[in-house]
Subunit: 177 residues, 2 copies
DNA sequence: ATAATTGCAAAGCTTTTGCCGGACT
DNA sequence: AGTCCGGCAAAAGCTTTGCAATTAT
């Protein structure tokens, strides 16, 4: 592989150029003092560009599409590391695989369309207040919370209804937030 | 809705007596037309008596403590069946194992003590109203919901703080509702 | 009698880990 | 230079499944 000269252009489509264009997540990694390797930069970039909630396999797919110099074990190790550093949040929408959500997007919850697997993110101030008060009611300080709503669209346009949305493994593979 | 009250108690002659003392969950199974075997009756009984949210291994442990005529594969098959029939709800509190909650206990949510793993169940009318309105806001009918609060007890007496409460597999093994 | 259920063990999935060459500070 | 990281493949957990014998209706 060719080695890049540092201090070049922002590398809009090139590979992982060490000092150029640190993505949102990469910046967070650096802030936490993580050693930034090409793979981590790549994964950070995929995460920064993701607007949905990919699982590890999906992250891996997107990463190798950009560079193909990553193993899935590294993706696992990296998401785990980032989760421990508070950069990522792990979610479980019921598909048997964990899905990941950058924590810097602010707290939000999920409304999952059980027919299509589409995930809508939302926030609600009133709900925040409410859960705080519920926790307080039991003498707890809230450390984390998880609210997921599963619903069906009311009019149902001409979409393909999923045949089975309540199975154990390998549920929805894609979503767009 | 058949009523079918030919519940004349047959003489109990040992362990799983076919027609005697149908537990809450067993009754539900019968209503859905499930073939009731000794194993299913046993598991139904364990579930009926459970006040917490056991995982499969825990159900298995409790079942063989009562009768020891069950394999863990049957427990897996049964909870899956009951989930499909709407008798059980599968939960994931982050321990890598699914945990089960009889659906007939009514909707409730969970407040998990991240230090001890204790699970507190609660309901909140205001929350119910709120999530309905949130779903409606996006044009959805609510099919299911999940609210989990993770918190720390405020005063924290001289208890044993858990060493690590944010790992991926095999988290809390026990809880009391 | 018939069709479903169980047990056992093997297979399947996702995720983790040991080892060692290679990369980063 | 030293330490940490990445790749590979094997291992680990949890869950599912094929098949033959057993059991419920």
């Amino acid at each position: 592989m060719d080695h890049a000269t540092h201090t070049h252009t922002k590398a809009p489509h090139g590979k992982a150029t060490p000092g150029a264009d640190p993505t949102r997540i990469e910046r967070l990694c650096i802030e936490r003092g993580l050693k930034m390797t090409g793979q981590r930069r790549l994964i950070a970039r995929v995460l920064s560009e993701a607007e949905d909630h990919p699982d590890v396999e999906e992250l891996y797919r997107r990463a190798i599409a950009l560079d193909s110099k990553v193993s899935i074990a590294t993706v696992y190790r990296t998401v785990r590391l980032l989760e421990e550093k508070g950069i990522l949040e792990r979610r479980d929408f019921g598909g048997g695989r964990s899905r990941y959500d950058p924590a810097d997007r602010g707290h939000h919850h999920h409304l999952i369309d059980v027919d299509t697997g589409t995930v809508i993110e939302f926030e609600d101030e009133e709900h925040e207040r409410l859960v705080q008060s519920i926790a307080a009611r039991y003498g707890f300080t809230l450390v984390q919370q998880r609210l997921e709503l599963f619903g069906k669209k009311i009019p149902a346009p001409a979409a393909t209804p999923a045949p089975d949305a309540r199975r154990r493994p390998a549920g929805t593979k894609k979503d767009q937030g």
